[in-house]
């Protein structure tokens, strides 16, 4: 019963890491926007939970072109970061939820009950972000893609990336602010001119589109090439057919926007 759950409120990053331990049998709560409805609807019945709001893991630090974002930074504080990260954050839910939801909660969100979550995964993959986390075996820093693939048993501490030379974010329209984003594409041009392309909503979590990246000079070709990298499923928001039709369009538009932004 949630009434008898053991709930910890660490007051520092070290306390949070210690409370987390190896992550077994503990529910981590950032802002709570994803976890609370799961509890309310009986899908999640934590016996042990950590609420991170007081653990001093929030904040955006800049060091030259490097941006470091603490795990419990509210999504609202990311909207002015360079594209694609800023526009991606601005597209999450509505202002009230952005003020409460955290970067960490967004990145670590599992698949919803029939809907994709974790929009920021795509934007941060596109800027080659690295994730610093704690857990069994101690602290480590790794590319975000590796963190996402192996995030069980890891407590995210912060995410860092170098501001791209230019970026763009394009998403399928949401009919209402409370809808999750069906699919979105993030692109970024690195200082050396190479282009990174990532998508959310075309699989279980955000991923890069290497085939599209290889063809990035030709937006239409890149759009078509992107289909080789994904296997979209039917879910509550859209069919795989629909995603297959619209992914090339999103990639093409994102690259066109990137060209204009450069």
């Amino acid at each position: 019963m949630t009434a008898s759950a053991d709930v910890l409120l660490p007051r520092s990053p070290d306390e949070a890491v210690e409370a987390f331990g190896d992550g077994s049998d503990v529910t981590v709560i950032g802002g709570g926007t994803i976890v609370l409805p799961e509890i309310t609807y009986g899908r999640l019945r934590p016996t042990r939970a950590i609420i991170l709001t007081a653990a001093d893991l929030a904040g955006v630090k800049r060091d030259g072109t490097t941006v470091t974002v603490g795990a419990t930074t509210p999504v609202a504080e990311l909207v002015d970061l360079p594209a694609p990260v800023g526009p991606c954050a601005a597209n999450v839910a509505d202002g009230e939820i952005r003020g409460q939801a955290t970067l960490g909660g967004n990145l670590c969100a599992g698949e919803g009950a029939g809907a994709p979550r974790g929009d920021l995964q795509g934007a941060l993959l596109a800027v080659d972000a690295v994730a610093r986390s704690a857990g069994a075996g101690g602290e480590r820093t790794e590319p975000l893609a590796d963190f996402l693939a192996n995030r069980r048993g890891r407590l995210l501490l912060d995410v860092s990336f170098d501001a791209p030379a230019a970026g763009a974010f394009v998403a399928l329209d949401r009919p209402h602010t409370h809808e999750y984003t069906t699919m979105a594409v993030s692109v970024a041009r690195r200082p050396d001119g190479t282009v990174r392309i990532a998508v959310t909503g075309a699989g279980t979590h955000g991923q890069r589109l290497p085939s599209a990246e290889a063809a990035a000079g030709d937006p239409a070709a890149a759009g078509e090439a992107a289909l080789a990298d994904v296997a979209p499923q039917d879910d509550a928001l859209a069919s795989s057919w629909y995603r297959t039709k619209t992914l090339p369009v999103l990639v093409r538009r994102a690259l066109a926007e990137l060209k204009e932004a450069s």
């Binding site: 609807y41 709001t53 939820i97 409460q100």
Partner: protein, 170 residues
């Protein structure tokens, strides 16, 4: 843990993972925030937490030790209504009234933070709030009027600038 609601300090007995919505409605008997969906999708549960509009159904009370919460009861009373409450009444911005509490608090925060009477900005700020009765027109007009600093007369209802006379019967 400690929660101040509408200026009154409470020692909260509910478990830390209880939503603020349930603490307000069930433990403290403050029923103006509503359980419209309990998933953050409708805005009927919105309250102010330290002056910011937040979904009370999504907040674990354990994260709110020392916070100040405001519900519509704390905005104003029938004898002394706040600006947005006057605006909503004069502009007929409520029908069934179920979404009204959340709308008012979001509107109050918007106006307090310097929001303008621009329709697009109001729509963006209140975008998380669903109303199934009014079609939103009068809600937006009320918020715009509050943002402009209009005066409000409670004996009559405002004429809606959005309506045109689309022809009489011939």
């Amino acid at each position: 843990m400690n929660l101040t609601v509408n200026g009154v300090e409470h020692d909260v007995a509910s478990a830390p993972l209880t939503s603020l919505l349930d603490v307000l409605r069930e433990e403290l008997g403050i029923t103006s925030p509503k359980a419209g969906c309990e998933q953050g999708g409708c805005g009927a549960c919105t309250v102010l937490v330290d002056g910011e509009a937040r979904r009370s159904c999504l907040l674990p009370v354990g994260a709110l030790d020392g916070a100040e919460v405001t519900t519509v009861e704390g905005l104003g009373t029938p004898e002394r209504l706040s600006t947005v409450q006057l605006a909503f009444t004069h502009h007929y911005a409520a029908q069934c009234g179920f979404c009204t509490s959340g709308m008012l608090l979001a509107a109050h925060a918007y106006v307090e933070h310097g929001g303008s009477d621009d329709r697009a900005e109001i729509t963006e700020a209140l975008g998380g709030h669903v109303c199934r009765c009014t079609g939103y027109v009068k809600i937006i007009e009320a918020v715009a009027a509050a943002a402009r600093g209009d005066s409000f007369d409670l004996e009559t209802t405002a004429a809606s600038p959005g309506m045109t006379n689309i022809g009489g019967v011939r």
